[in-house]
Amino acid sequence: MDAVLMQAADIDRALTRIAFEIIEGNKGPEGLVLLGIPTRGTPLAARIAAKISAASGGVPVFAGSLDITMYRDDIARNPLRVTRPTDVPSTGIDGTTVVLVDDVLFSGRSIRAALDALSDVGRPTAVRLAVLVDRGHREFPIRADYVGKNIPSARQERVSVDLAEVDGTDRVVIG
């Protein structure tokens, strides 16, 4: 049975809070690069970047994407995954603070792959992690710096995030 855990307004409030926490942690918006992990991390990164920018008097904050498909450790065990574009600043990410953005933090394997992918793109000063939902069950020593909502879940349950840019509507569902 599916239950809606977050509505559009809840998601928006969570992203606003994450945006302010990022500004606070970074002591301002300078040197921030937000990279979403496709598919749904990408629009989340764009939304958070827009909020950071709006809260900082319009300072532009780069929002892009980091595809991890070719860095996964389970390629031969799964059907073919189609890659997505990686979009990073043309000046590179060296010396920046990269905030990785994903929709759901679960095993931590995606983030492990993202850290590998990131090191092939450049050498940021620091890497942070922001997720809309942390549902637990980590398989790697990875934790998020910014969490929209902690959702305790059973391992076999399915937590899915729908976003207007991808799915036409904003909500978080468990089932």
Binding site: P38, T39, R40, D67, T69, M70, Y71, I75, A76, R77, N78, P79, L80, R81, V82, T83, R84, P85, T86, D116, D120, V121, G122
Partner: protein, 321 residues
């Protein structure tokens, strides 16, 4: 998709997904670290029974950029043909630990035999078999066309409505065959222009128009003109009287080049016979895509090697999440 043997096996969705993956592989070339860890620990064997520099090098570069180990096996001068010795060679390579075998063979159908005989379990990529097929060449041609036409909005796009003219030695050309199937699948309309002696017999059953006069074929102002190499190594009969006559009737010379519409693409799979099927003016023009085709070949082959390394028999349409 476990093997890539023929472009006739590809659905439109599969073809577009391969081209989309190739777009992302092309992006890797612009990075400081031009390597992906995707095929680490896997072995790709280039099994080449026929001379090839660019295709073998391209596959080798593609495999290495995906961090695979590459073994090059070339049977130059060997009398290996279909049958027992192909079997022994392939089984030896599998015993060495090949995960993917890239095979080029002068016998049409040799890659099918390898893939379907049960001799080996590795995936097989056809890198050109006789006069039959050269699927990765067609994929890189389609990729090159799509990039030139659609630019940065190429992802997901097909080639609907484009007119492609393929000119010259059709009968010996696996490039023409593979392109015909793939470009037609992607929505393009293909015309062959060739002297009657260089057109295969069964052509009336293929989804293609055939014109026996180059100038007549150019009069409709095609979007793409693909010149084929005259394959002297496969010609055991006189297919045309003299090279000079061929160049005059079927070469993309200065006048024909200048008569093309300005945005028309000029393609050639290489190596070019300058002055025979293509003039230097055409080959060196901004409309020519010859070097792009080579560069794109690596990206497309990376996409193919990656796609064949996913769970075999899986639907290529598997979603990314």
């Amino acid at each position: 998709m476990k093997h890539l043997l023929s472009t006739a096996d590809l659905t439109k969705a599969q073809a577009i997904e391969l081209l989309d993956i190739a777009e992302d592989m092309a992006e890797v070339r612009t990075r400081e670290v031009k390597k992906l860890p995707t095929l680490r620990g896997r072995t790709v064997v280039n099994l080449f029974f026929e001379d090839s520099t660019r295709t073998r090098t391209s596959f080798e570069a593609a495999a290495k950029r995906l961090s695979a180990d590459v073994i090059n096996f070339s049977a130059k001068g060997s009398s290996v043909s279909k049958g027992e010795s192909l079997k022994d060679t392939a089984q030896t390579l599998e015993a060495i630990g090949a995960d993917l075998v890239v095979v080029r063979h002068s016998a049409s159908g040799a890659p099918q035999v390898l893939a379907q005989s049960g001799w080996i379990h590795s995936g097989v990529v056809n890198a050109g078999d006789g006069t039959h097929e050269h699927p990765t060449q067609a994929l890189l041609d389609a990729f090159t066309i799509r990039r030139r036409i659609h630019g940065s909005s190429s992802r997901g796009a097909d080639l609907q409505g484009l007119t492609v003219l393929i000119v010259g030695d059709i009968v010996h050309s696996r490039v023409a065959r593979s392109n015909l199937w793939l470009l037609t699948t992607l929505g393009a309309h293909v015309t062959f222009a060739a002297p009657a002696t260089l057109v295969p017999l069964a052509i009336d059953r293929w989804p293609v128009d055939v014109v026996h006069d180059f100038d007549e074929a150019l009069a409709v102002k095609p979007d793409v003109v693909m010149m084929l190499r005259i394959q002297t190594e496969r010609m055991r009969n006189a297919f045309f009287p003299t090279e000079r006559e061929y160049a005059r009737l079927w070469g993309l010379d200065q006048d024909r080049y200048r008569g093309l519409k300005p945005e028309a693409l000029i393609m050639h799979p290489g190596p070019m016979n300058r002055g025979l099927e293509i003039s230097s003016e055409a080959a060196d023009s901004a409309q020519a895509t010859v070097l792009e085709q080579v560069a794109n070949g690596v990206s497309v082959r990376m996409a193919v090697l990656y796609a064949l390394s996913a769970l075999p028999d899986a639907d290529i349409l598997g979603r990314p999440e």
